[in-house]
Structure formats: structure tokens, C-alpha cells
């Protein structure tokens, strides 16, 4: 607890304006600022017989970073994969309840998964660049969605994505070399660039920094903070400090249940639930 507060006050990247004191004066103003982008109601997920996610109601707001925290196996990744329907590929996985994006049901049988995934990008825990050139890695998404038909358009998209991911300066002279030859942190930024190349509305990140060193992590956190201007971001993280640094909202999961969700500061300074309190003070998890 002590440590968390310290990092929050020390860190320049905390983007929520004001301190806990300032917030207390005007509690309602921040909470209602942004419209809801993704609305989940009574979401249940089963892997075969196992009930992995139980009755989750969660609102994710536009142009905010929402972080999902909780002990290992509590269902954070499972919830994340519900949003872009990556659970469809898993044998024996069943999703119930409703998830709406901009009022449209994501699980509507008439909805095209390909289009959904063009609107909801994903970055994984382990950087997974394709064994292709850096250029082709970025161009892959636009190509399958038919964006950027001419060479110059494509060049523009590739350069723009790399610039927004803060990787352009490092790789601009080696666009033809394989993406797998980059360092771990560069690979992860390449994957972020690949995700934003199709210009999605939402980006899902599943522990994007867990395989990276502190410097690369800091770069990615900075990047996430910038991307917030244009994208809605949901990030799973095991680092409380990271959640505090990058997110405006935090949802705490425990044993498949969404225990508590609130503004990040509120969760870390004044959690309502005892389990949340125990988790962020490191008493379990």
C-alpha cells in the first residue's frame, strides 16, 4: 500500500489530473466524463464444465485505459478474449450474457468476426511478430482488410503506425529485415504498431510488459498513455504500479468474479471490498 502510493505520487505518468484530495472535492465530475464504449452484462464463460467467469458486469469507457487486475487464474485473460471473440477458437469454450460495443451485440450471430477484430485489436503477453519482414508485419492487417491499396498508401500506413508506436526511428533503415530479429521490447512495440495499423477503436493488451525489462516497460507505458487519445484501451497487468501509472479505471477480479471496479485512484487509495484491499496490499495473490 505504502509503496503503491509512493509510486503514484512519484510517477510523472499518472495522467489522471489532481490528487486524492482534489478528487474528493468533485467526485462525480470524472466518473461521468467519458461515454461507455463496451458494456458487459451478466457475462459467464465456461471451459467445458469449469465456470471460469461468473456474472461479470463491466463498463469500459471510451478513450480511457481500463486495467484488469487480480490473482493468477481469476479470469482476466478470459474476459479480455471475450471482447474480440478470441474465445471462439478455443475448443469447448462457451460464452453467455451480453457484451455490447457502441450498442451492438458482439455475440450477434450476424456479426462478422473479421470486422469485429478489425475494430478491436489485441496485443499479447509474449511478443509474437510473424516471421516476416518488419514492413510485412505491419502491412499484414491492412492487406487482409483491403486498406491501403497502393504502394504509397501502404508505405504511409506502415510509417505512421511505427511512428505512433515509437519504433520508427529504430527500424526505418531495416524495414526488410525479419521482425523476429528485433529485441523483445522492440518486438512488443512492433506488435502494438501491427495492431494500430488497421486503425481499431479498441486495443486489448494482455500483460504486454511481462516479458520486458524496466526500460522497455517504461516506453510501452508512455506509449499506452499517448494512444489513449485515440483508442480505448483495456490492459491486463500483474503490476499494481503499472495499473496505477497507466490506467484511469481499474477492475479487480477474484476467482472468476468481478469484485470491484472504480477509478484507479479510488481502488488504490480507498478500496471498498476487503478482498481488493488484501490484494493490493499484497496479502494474497
Amino acid at each position: 500500500m505504502q509503496e503503491v502510493q509512493e509510486t503514484m505520487t512519484d510517477s510523472g505518468t499518472v495522467s489522471t489530473p489532481g490528487t486524492a484530495g482534489a478528487r474528493a472535492e468533485n467526485p462525480a465530475a470524472l466518473a461521468n466524463e467519458k461515454p461507455v464504449k463496451i458494456k458487459s452484462r451478466d457475462v459467464n464463460v465456461f471451459y467445458g464444465e469449469a465456470h471460469a467467469l461468473k456474472h461479470v458486469d463491466l463498463d469500459i469507457r471510451q478513450h480511457e485505459v481500463t486495467s484488469l487486475i487480480g490473482p493468477s487464474g481469476c479470469g482476466k485473460s478470459t474476459y479480455l478474449r471475450c471482447i474480440n471473440r478470441m474465445n471462439d477458437v478455443i475448443d469447448g469454450c462457451r460464452v453467455e450474457g451480453s457484451i455490447e460495443m457502441d450498442g451492438e451485440d458482439v455475440y450477434d450471430p450476424k456479426l462478422d468476426v473479421v470486422q469485429l477484430r478489425a475494430r478491436v485489436g489485441m496485443v499479447f503477453q509474449k511478443p509474437n511478430p510473424f516471421p516476416k519482414s518488419i514492413y510485412d508485419n505491419i502491412a499484414y492487417g491492412p492487406r487482409i482488410h483491403g486498406i491501403g491499396s497502393t504502394k504509397s498508401e501502404m508505405d504511409e500506413i506502415v510509417q505512421g503506425s511505427l511512428q505512433r508506436a515509437g519504433l520508427w526511428e529504430e527500424v526505418k533503415d531495416r524495414m526488410d529485415t525479419p521482425g523476429t530479429g528485433l529485441s523483445g521490447g522492440q518486438q512488443q512495440r512492433l506488435c502494438i504498431a501491427r495492431a494500430i495499423a488497421v486503425n481499431p477503436e479498441v486495443i486489448l493488451m494482455d500483460e504486454p510488459c511481462s516479458a520486458l525489462d524496466p526500460i522497455a516497460t517504461a516506453k510501452i507505458e508512455e506509449l499506452i498513455d499517448e494512444l489513449r487519445q485515440n483508442f480505448t484501451i483495456v490492459i491486463v497487468t500483474h503490476s499494481m504500479q503499472q495499473a496505477a501509472r497507466v490506467s484511469q479505471r481499474t477492475a479487480f477480479f477474484h476467482l472468476g468474479i468481478l469484485v470491484e471496479t472504480d477509478e484507479t485512484e479510488q481502488i488504490f487509495t480507498n478500496p471498498k471490498d476487503q478482498r481488493t484491499q488484501d490484494y493490493i496490499t499484497g496479502r494474497f495473490g
Binding site: 474480440n84 478470441m86 477458437v89 475448443d91 468476426v113 473479421v114 470486422q115 469485429l116 477484430r117 478489425a118 485489436g121 489485441m122 499479447f124 509474449k126 509474437n128 511478430p129 510473424f130 516471421p131 516476416k132 499484414y140 492487417g141 487482409i144 482488410h145 523476429t180 506488435c191 501491427r194 495492431a195 488497421v198
Partner: protein, 460 residues
């Protein structure tokens, strides 16, 4: 006493040595095994190897040397007239004497002088056997006693047993390697003899293959032609047809199994496909000769094509079916080795299954797939039985798959079947063909293995 009895006795003594060593290890420590450096069983093994190995080595050397030494003594004992005979006669006579002495079939009656020499020969062999048994017994008991006296609590029996085991393994692998080297050298040697009779340029660049050699000088068609090009062209043609069948079918079934099939389908379909690899090639051969080839001939006739009853097409297609599992099983493995995270990455970008397979999985698995195809090619090139039965023996230089062709392996078989002089150009040609084929498949295998290895490094 027969060799099998000797081996049984050795086995018994070795087991006894093991038990003795185990017990002795306990005895020297006063039944307190904690004082031992190595476990009692290692002391047992150590003693057992002292009992077994020296005796085994001596026996091997003895059995190899015995016939030669005995024969030298036999020749020394023969009457004077012997050395005046020709070499062939000498060989024949010695063979007769040996056969008579050991109770085999003899070509005619023997001179009494030779008879006596034969009896002496048999005596030598019997005596030698008994001396060998005595020496071996002495070695086993002596070795056992030496090792027994070394059993002490601080003796590093484990390390010594490990060392012995590694030496035994080195010897085993050396034998395997030496055999390969020996085969290559004998091929090289015989091929050299062939090229002293037929110029190497004729062999490599000649387009005429009819390996007839006259038995008498005045025979018709006495000069053979040894141009290997028709054979290699035939091999190439059949391999090409086979790959046209095996690569698409094998690759598509591999894609289906690794990407589309559910767990249960995969678990049953894969073994079934692999059964194809277990069918003996003779079975494929008569399937090709009795079913496929007549089918093509009849179909060809009905649409006005002349298809010979033994055609490259029939052999190639059946061979292709035979090597499907080589392509499918290996490609399936390499596609499964493509990390799931790459698939997830593609799906998360909105790629469909087919796009993911085509644009991500196949390129990532390509080196492995190429490797599996090359292995299948070398398998097809070396295949004999199907071609013997279905493609015929006529060495036609043609690219028409409806005609009969022949392959390198088939010609090797036909060159060596039947009564032949062993040093005629005809038989020696088989070695030249074998060496060339060996060289080609070796290159293919080396390339394939390198490609596959390069692929492995990428993801491990």
C-alpha cells in the same frame, strides 16, 4: 562344446560375479552400506564386467583367427605335390579337405596323403576349441578375483562402471560407422573396376543402355552399352509423377489435420494415414501391376491412346500413394510446431482460418515442409519393388509417362539376378549405378536434414 553352451556358461559366471561383487561390497563394510562410495550394485557390475569383457574379447579374436591359423597349418602339412598345382586347383583341394574333415559334401575321392592331412586339420580345430575354453575360463575366474580384491569402501566403482559403459557405446557406434564406411569403400572399389572396363564418360553421358556381355567372343550382340542416362531419366520421370501425387495430397491432408481437424479426428486419422507407410512395397507393387496398370491401359485404349501394359504412369502414381504419409506426417509435425501465438496474432488481426494458414503458417513452416518433401523424394528415388513390378525393364529414353521405362534400382536388381561372372562389366555396372544412386540420395538427405534443422532453430 558348441558356442551356445560357452555363451551360457559365460552368462552364468557373469551373473555369479555380479552377485559376488554386491555381497562383497556389503561384507567389506560390515553390512553398513553408508560407508561405501558407490552403491553395492555398482560393485557387482564392476566385478561382472571384469568377468565378462576380457573373456569376450579373447573369444571374438580367437574365433576370427582360428580358421586362418588352422588353414595355414593344413597347407604346411600337405605333401610336396600341392604347391606345384595352379591356384584354383589349390583352393578346390583345400575346400575338399576341409569339407571331408568336418563331414560336409565332397566333390570326389581324396588322395590318402590328403586324407591324413585332413584328419590332422580336424584335430587342430578340436584342440583349438578346448584351449580357447580353458583360456576363457582362466580369464573369467582370474578377472573376477582381481576385481574382487579391489572391492573396498572407498573404491569408485560407479565411475569405473560409467566409463566402461561409455567405452562399450563408443565401440558400438564405431562398428555402425565402420560398416557404412566399408560399404562405401567396396562400392568405390568395384566402381573403379567397372570404369577400367567401360569409360566413365560413356557411363555418365551415354544414352544407350543394354548391358549384354558376350559369353563367347563370336556371339551376336557381343558388345554391351552402358549409358546410364535412360535409367536416370526413367527414375526422374517416375519420381516426378510420384511427387505430383504425394505433395498435394500429403500437404493438404497435413493442413487439414493440423489446422482444421478436431482433436478426436486428428487422433484417429493420423495413425490411419501412417499405416500407409507400413504397407510392404511388394503389396503396392502388385497393386500397381495388377490393378492400376491394366486400368490405365484399358482407359487409354478406349480413348484411343496407346498405353503400354507396364507404364511409368502406373508405377509413379502408386509410388506417390506410398509416400503420401512421409509428406503428410512430417509436414503436419512442422505445422504443429509453429507456435500458437502466431495463429493468435493473425486471428486477432481479423484473419480468417484460410488466410492464417496461407499467409502465416505455411511460410513459417515452409523450410520444414521442403525438408519433408526432399526426404520423400529420396525415398522415391530409392524405391525398387513397385517399379520392378509395374514399370518394366525396357530402358527407353522418353518423357512419355504412358511408355514403359526403367529405373536405376530396377537395373541393379536385374544385373545381379541370375548366373553371372562376378567380374564382368555387367555385374560391375551394378556397383557403379549403386554408387551414383547412393550419392544422389545422400545429397538429397543432407540438404533435407539441413533445411529441417535450420527450421528447428528458429522456434526452439
Amino acid at each position: 562344446m558348441g558356442i551356445s553352451v560357452i555363451l551360457l556358461v559365460m552368462l552364468g559366471l557373469t551373473v555369479a560375479g555380479y552377485l559376488l561383487g554386491t555381497r562383497q561390497a556389503l561384507v567389506v563394510t560390515g553390512h553398513n552400506p553408508h560407508q561405501l562410495h558407490s552403491l553395492p550394485s555398482y560393485h557387482g557390475l564392476y566385478l561382472a564386467s571384469w568377468v565378462l569383457l576380457p573373456a569376450l574379447i579373447v573369444m571374438a579374436i580367437w574365433l576370427i583367427a582360428e580358421p586362418h591359423v588352422a588353414e595355414l597349418r593344413l597347407v604346411a602339412n600337405l605333401p610336396d605335390g600341392f604347391s606345384q598345382r595352379s591356384f584354383d586347383e589349390q583352393r578346390l583341394l583345400i575346400g575338399d579337405i576341409q569339407a571331408r574333415a568336418l563331414g560336409g559334401i565332397v566333390s570326389g575321392a581324396l588322395d590318402p596323403a590328403f586324407q591324413a592331412a585332413g584328419e590332422a586339420y580336424a584335430g587342430t580345430l578340436a584342440a583349438s576349441r578346448w584351449v580357447m575354453i580353458a583360456v576363457m575360463l582362466a580369464l573369467m575366474v582370474g578377472g573376477g578375483l582381481i576385481a574382487l580384491r579391489q572391492v573396498r569402501p572407498d573404491m569408485r566403482a560407479r565411475n569405473r562402471v560409467e566409463k566402461t559403459a561409455s567405452v562399450i557405446m563408443i565401440v558400438a557406434s564405431t562398428i555402425a560407422i565402420m560398416t557404412t564406411v566399408g560399404i562405401i569403400f567396396s562400392l568405390l572399389f568395384e566402381t573403379g573396376r567397372f570404369f577400367s572396363k567401360v569409360p566413365i564418360t560413356e557411363f555418365l553421358f551415354g544414352t544407350q543402355w543394354s548391358p549384354q556381355i558376350a559369353l563367347r567372343a563370336d556371339q551376336v550382340g557381343s558388345s554391351g552399352a552402358f549409358g546410364a542416362i535412360p535409367l536416370f531419366a526413367g527414375t526422374l520421370l517416375i519420381t516426378l509423377i510420384a511427387m505430383c501425387v504425394a505433395v498435394p495430397i500429403g500437404l493438404f491432408s497435413a493442413i487439414y489435420m493440423s489446422e482444421y481437424a478436431g482433436k478426436r479426428v486428428r487422433a484417429s486419422a493420423k495413425p490411419v494415414l501412417e499405416i500407409l507407410a507400413g504397407v510392404p512395397t511388394v503389396v503396392y507393387g502388385f497393386f500397381a501391376a495388377l490393378t492400376v496398370a491394366p486400368f490405365f491401359r484399358n482407359t487409354g485404349e478406349s480413348i484411343g491412346l496407346t498405353v503400354s501394359s507396364e507404364s511409368a504412369l502406373a508405377a509413379g502414381i502408386v509410388m506417390g500413394i506410398m509416400i503420401i504419409p512421409f509428406v503428410s506426417s512430417l509436414s503436419d509435425d512442422v505445422m504443429n510446431a509453429v507456435p500458437q501465438s502466431l495463429r493468435d496474432g493473425a486471428y486477432a488481426l481479423g484473419a480468417t482460418k484460410a488466410e492464417t494458414v496461407r499467409q502465416v503458417i505455411l511460410p513459417a513452416a515452409l523450410p520444414g515442409i521442403v525438408g519433408s518433401v526432399l526426404l520423400a523424394v529420396s525415398r522415391a528415388v530409392g524405391e525398387t519393388m513397385i517399379v520392378v513390378m509395374a514399370a518394366g525393364l525396357a530402358a527407353n529414353l522418353t518423357a512419355n509417362p504412358l511408355e514403359a521405362v526403367t529405373t536405376v534400382t530396377v537395373q541393379i536388381v536385374t544385373l545381379l539376378v541370375g548366373d553371372q561372372e562376378f567380374d564382368s562389366a555387367k555385374t560391375l555396372a551394378a556397383f557403379a549405378l549403386g554408387l551414383t544412386l547412393f550419392f544422389v540420395t545422400l545429397c538429397l538427405n543432407v540438404i533435407a536434414l539441413n533445411v529441417v534443422r535450420k527450421y528447428r532453430e528458429k522456434y526452439d
